[in-house]
Amino acid sequence: MSFRKRNIGLSAGFDRNGAVNPSAQPQQAPATPESTPGVRPSPDDGRPTTSTGTPSLDNLLAGHGGLPIGKILLVEENGTTDFAGALLRYYAAEGVVQDQKIHVVGMPEQWGRSLPGLIGPADAVDEKQDKRKGDRMKIAWRYERLGEFGAGIAGSRASVPSGDQSQSATDASVDKRPAFCHAFDLTKRLTHPSITNLNYIPLAPSNEPLLVTIQKRLQAAIASSPPNTVHRIVIPSLLNPTIYPPETSQPDHLLPFLHSLRALMSAPGARITAMITLPLSLFPRSTGLVRWMEILSDGVIELCPFPHSSDALATSGAATSHEEPPQGMLKVHRLPVLHERGGGSDQNIGLDWAFTLSRKRFEIKPFSLPPDEGDKEGQEAAVTGGMPKKADLEF
């Protein structure tokens, strides 16, 4: 299985490979003449996938190393924070960098101007991170898995030569090399020639139901673009009453829209992915409507930010002092392709996930108890902090 293969790659020195890759790839590349930047076959079953712009989220998606084309990812968020919005910006920025067509629903053009600035291919950034990781792995054997997980990109890149590398050979600039996934800086602003290319679909009132209009405009925009274009549909904060009129949350408006979106994406020849975020505080998961939205989506991820202030977090949950403390829990409810087939057999299943949003990256890691560093205070803080959840789960 692909995972085992990756792990072998890991033991052979995964991250160094990743950095060496650019020079090694070109010989293999000519074998795959026709390809699109930002799209590569899944190491699991060869279906085309594209990156979400967040490397650790790519790795979470059931072994495909990215979001498979034609799939909808629903990111739900509890509370009033906007971590999901950050994921969405990475997703959009990645699409911009990959010259994909982005369709933004219900957001003004400022949204596009606030996309995070490009640092470079994600691997290059990983390189620096991994040195730190190497240090950390000495602390306890059980963090080995962390390394494995983070290495997903590098490993799969090494094993599955993606066609995009062919262009990198001719491209002089290493930074603009069309890698699969890029790293972005949230404090900077993205400047890219194709950023003006974003298609904004405003929520303008018309004589039709709003969502029908959106659906039609999406359909028209996709139909009018060249056939091989890869599209990304970005729907921030769906149903949010400050953006959407109240009737959109009626099932007979919303569910046909999502169903049509599904139909649009599964149309033969279409190369579309979509990411939708949903505020759970307004539309809790325990309602039938949200459950139907989840059923209509291919992947469902729930973000549960920790409610404390950042001071309290400083000592809780962090594995080591120099690592970012987790800012919340991440729950995976459904994964694209995997659950459609029946579920199970994913190495990431059954783990507790935590996420950390820093200036440069949104990282998803297995959530684990802090190691016993003999630090009584830290331990106590941990118990009062994020730990009870873990304890509740186990007993």
């Binding site: 099932p251 059923i295 409810h333």
Partner: protein, 357 residues
């Protein structure tokens, strides 16, 4: 995990002998979907007493009478079913040509506006269909299909190229449903479309030699229709139930999948103490109502103890509310209620086993 035949022996009695005019309900939840089980039903019905079955001793399937299947899917497209069935060794495109299988697409155009009228090629003209050459395009379209051999394959596999435009024009042997209008009239139109497909499949083909083939109708998540229309469009649980009953009349047996997630069932239950939304009430009424009308209810759910790496979920088979209504037909199907664990492997194979095995 030992690999099991496409239809695990533990499932054989449930999937292979459906009594006439019976309804089998297959309930699933978000994290434990039932598509694999639907595929097993297709497999059990479409493969007859072939050599491989006889060798495995699956005497139940070897009635000698071949079944035909009409699959109506509201959430998944033709591509999904075709690729997944191929993993079981079931070539749905070929079976469609042989008039043994028909797919009704409830996804692509169900809610699309009538203005974008598509050119729907009339199907079920058996004489014409054999001569239509575009069939040859189908093998080409199988490109996202999995490579059968699993395991490490460092060799560069063909990159999934952009689907070739000619293939995208050809929608395949598919009837597309479209919902238009309100209330029962809209459902009636759908019923007519599906019935036409069923009758088209049932029409005996000259070389077949079968008089009246048994048609198995599989309705994949018709609850979407209910959820996406709702009482404001004049469609409720009763209308949906009537609709299903109408379709049942055309088929020999019917398999229906429905979502049984807690929010959709229990929010509106008589034991809940909170007001429920119309969506929840109607869905619960429909799901529970169909379970009352079912001969057998197969319930899929997640493992109570959380996700596990070698278990995908739990399958519980129970007698539905209509079990035992007709003694004469019940006689030849002997199965007992059971609860088993299942595991869907990456290659599409499924192993089914008891707890602790």
């Amino acid at each position: 995990m030992p690999s099991q035949p496409p239809l695990p022996p533990l499932l054989t009695p449930y999937a292979s002998s459906l009594p006439p005019s019976s309804l089998t309900v297959l309930s699933s939840v978000l994290g434990a979907t039932g598509n694999w089980l639907v595929l097993r039903f297709l497999y059990a019905a479409l493969t007859t007493s072939s050599v491989s079955d006889a060798a495995l001793g699956l005497s139940e399937t070897s009635h000698g009478k071949k079944r035909k299947v009409v699959l109506v899917s509201f959430l998944r497209g033709w591509d999904f079913w075709r690729t997944e069935a191929k993993r079981l060794g079931l070539d749905l495109a070929r079976l469609t040509d042989k008039q043994e299988f028909a797919f009704v697409d409830g996804l692509s155009e169900l809610f699309s506006a009538p203005s974008t009228a598509s050119t729907q090629a009339p199907i079920h003209q058996s004489s014409l269909r054999g001569a239509v050459p575009p069939r040859t395009v189908l093998p080409l379209r199988s490109q996202p299909g999995p490579v059968p051999a699993r395991g490490p394959q460092p060799a560069p596999r063909p990159v999934a190229a952009a689907p070739n435009p000619p293939a995208s024009k050809e929608i395949g042997p598919v009837k597309r449903l479209r919902l238009s209008g309100n209330g029962p009239a809209a459902l009636d139109a759908l019923e007519k479309d599906i019935a036409a497909v069923i009758n088209g499949v049932r029409t005996p083909t000259p070389g077949d030699g079968q008089e009246d083939p048994e048609v198995l109708l599989v309705l994949d998540q018709p609850d979407l229709l209910l959820a996406a229309t709702g009482p404001s469009k004049g469609i409720g649980a009763t209308e949906m139930g009537d609709w299903v009953m109408g379709l049942q009349q055309y088929a020999h047996a019917t398999v229906l999948t429905v979502s049984a997630d807690s929010p959709l069932i229990h929010n509106a239950s008589t034991f809940a103490h909170q007001p429920s939304t119309p969506l929840e009430t109607e869905h619960a009424a429909f799901a529970i109502g169909t379970a009352h009308r079912a001969h057998m209810v197969m319930q899929l759910r997640n493992l109570e103890t959380g996700a596990a790496r070698d278990v995908s979920g739990v399958l519980r088979v129970s007698k539905g509310g209509a079990w035992g209504q007709n003694d004469s037909t019940e006689g030849d199907s002997h199965w007992e209620e059971k609860e088993v664990l299942y595991f869907v492997q990456r290659d599409g194979g499924v192993s089914v086993f008891g707890r602790g095995e």
